[in-house]
Amino acid sequence: MNAQVEDKDYYAILGVPQSATEEEIKQAYRTLARRYHPDSRTENVPTTLFHEVQAAYAVLSDPARRRAYDRRLAKMGIGEQAAIAWDIQLSQTQLSAQYESQVFYVLVEIRPAAGSKGERLPLNLCLVIDNSTSMQGARLEHVKRAAHQIIDELDDSDILGVVTFNDRAEVVIPARPLTNRIHTKAKISSIIANGGTEILRGLQAGLAEIEKHRSPQVVNHLILLTDGQTYGDEEDCLAVARLAGSQRIGISAMGIGEDWNDELLDQIANQSGGVSAYIASPGQVRTLLQQRVRGLGTVFAQGLELTLHCSEGVQVENAFRALPHLERLTVTNGTISLGALQTDAPLSLMLEVGVAQKPPGEHRLLRLELNAEISAQGNRRERIWRDIVLSFVPGEPTPQPVPAAILGTLSKITIYRMQEHAWESLERGKVKEATRQLERIATRLFDLGESQLARSAMLEAGRIARSGISTPKGRKELKYGTRSLTIAPRRKSYD
């Protein structure tokens, strides 16, 4: 019973801020009690809501109990002192009780709370560089140059290891603090290309280097740079990535050129809470690697997990991350793993929720619970939650404008999903359908002013119509292009 009491957010139940005065609390109680009272004829609501309101008022109306409750909240990292802030917006606040099944959307934006400070954590970084024969020339040279730049930017207290791999892995620089930069750079310059591509060996050697200095007080991260397919060890790579994720080691996977396995690299990153990126030309290696390492330097919280407690008849059908980049999120046992939160890059995600028919009245459909470790504050654990309550009305709900943030994000997620759908159709041999879908994507992209990406979609649609197969380049351009739609609007054409 006791644990359950602690679970309730009394302020949220009464709908008042933690700073509310006694009078405001009394007011809120009166309104809600009238609405939820079992004798009330106007609304058909479960009596549990009424009891919750009473319990909340009992605590908050008594100054001594309220102070004790505030202290308990603060201890749990909830309440006004919470280090993480979140905004939750709904596509609608009213649903109709007449539909058998309907949909609404929840946009969750997560960022460090204003005024909550954090220190830069030292990095425990390992670069895992593909030095197979195909990397020879411009690709490897650009990777080396990018690595040199990283070395210049890292702090003395950061730890860096460098591993190369082809058919086997070699530790070029064992993980250690960056004290002798010149030596480290010289070692990197001496890397030469030779042999095949076996990603698993590279990952294992890289993780072994990270393991030497792994601790919760640093940001443990592996950056994989490759340009090729790995054969036969995909499953093992994923298992290794999952294990890394469970040990708070993120893996960022960067594919150079067109010939790498995008699904594998996406999953490796996804499983470990890292990110994947497409590097179209070797010249971009430096910028992307630099961005990633700078991002790691601003990690504020790690191990973010969003748990979805759905009420009966409610199901989160699709979940997408919209920021820092667009990506489909997997819900495992009601929990979504979100990785790290950076100081300068808010996280935002979109949930598509399906609801079965409910009688008129207020219903709590969903509770969102966010758990995180605030790395910047000595790994303090923090848990915040929010209830999603919607009211069901007998007829059609009063039309309300959908928040612009939801529309903007959803319009881009829609394009991303259309793209996913197109590749699926193609895999199932439905060439005509895939072609039509790509053409529709092109139309939407033109509307968004993304003319370059739209042209890629049109070209790819043409190629597929002719040959029945997609090109690795077109596929990657579209996938990673639509994925970064949420990041920055690049409008080039206007009406």
Binding site: S91, Q92, L95, S96, Y99, S101, Q102, V103, F104, Y105, G354, V402, A404, I406, L407, G408, L410, S411, K412, T414, I415, R417, M418, H421, Q437, R440, I441, T443, R444, D447, L448, G449, P489, R491, Y494, D495
Partner: protein, 175 residues
Amino acid sequence: MIECPSCGRKHRPGTLFCSECGVYLPTGGPLRTEPLPEEELPISRANPWASEPAQGRGETPPAPLRIEVVSTGRIIQLPSTPEIHIGRLDAAHGIFPDLDLTSDGGLESGVSRHHCKIHQRGSTYLVEDVGSANGTFLNGQRLTPYLPHVLKNGDELQLGHILLKVIIENPSDAQ
């Protein structure tokens, strides 16, 4: 169930975008900007070469930019991004201007969805018409589309029939 006006696919109530063709379901299509009668708009054209910035090379960023919508008195603090888009929101087509004039009667006054943009170069702001249906006017003179003009504090911008006042000053200087 609701039916997509474009492809006919059926969706559950509450769905916002058609998963098949990407259309925004509540409206099914955009509201088009109608051209205004020519005689209602000023005729003189601004000379783009006269106002090309020679002084725009300064390194210090300009003071924050605010826009006052004269008819409604609404004052908007614009973001300090390199490019600021002004127009009308059209969610169906993913057009989300930084300054949305819908609530100021933008559609009736002939504001295009993409009407004009303001960019920051050095220590100055430049305004550029982006091929709008009814034109952008700077102090009563029509701008040639896609040619940037320097914006100064106190300038008047007209988008279709909507009059905007440009305020470039630090809020502290005003007092």
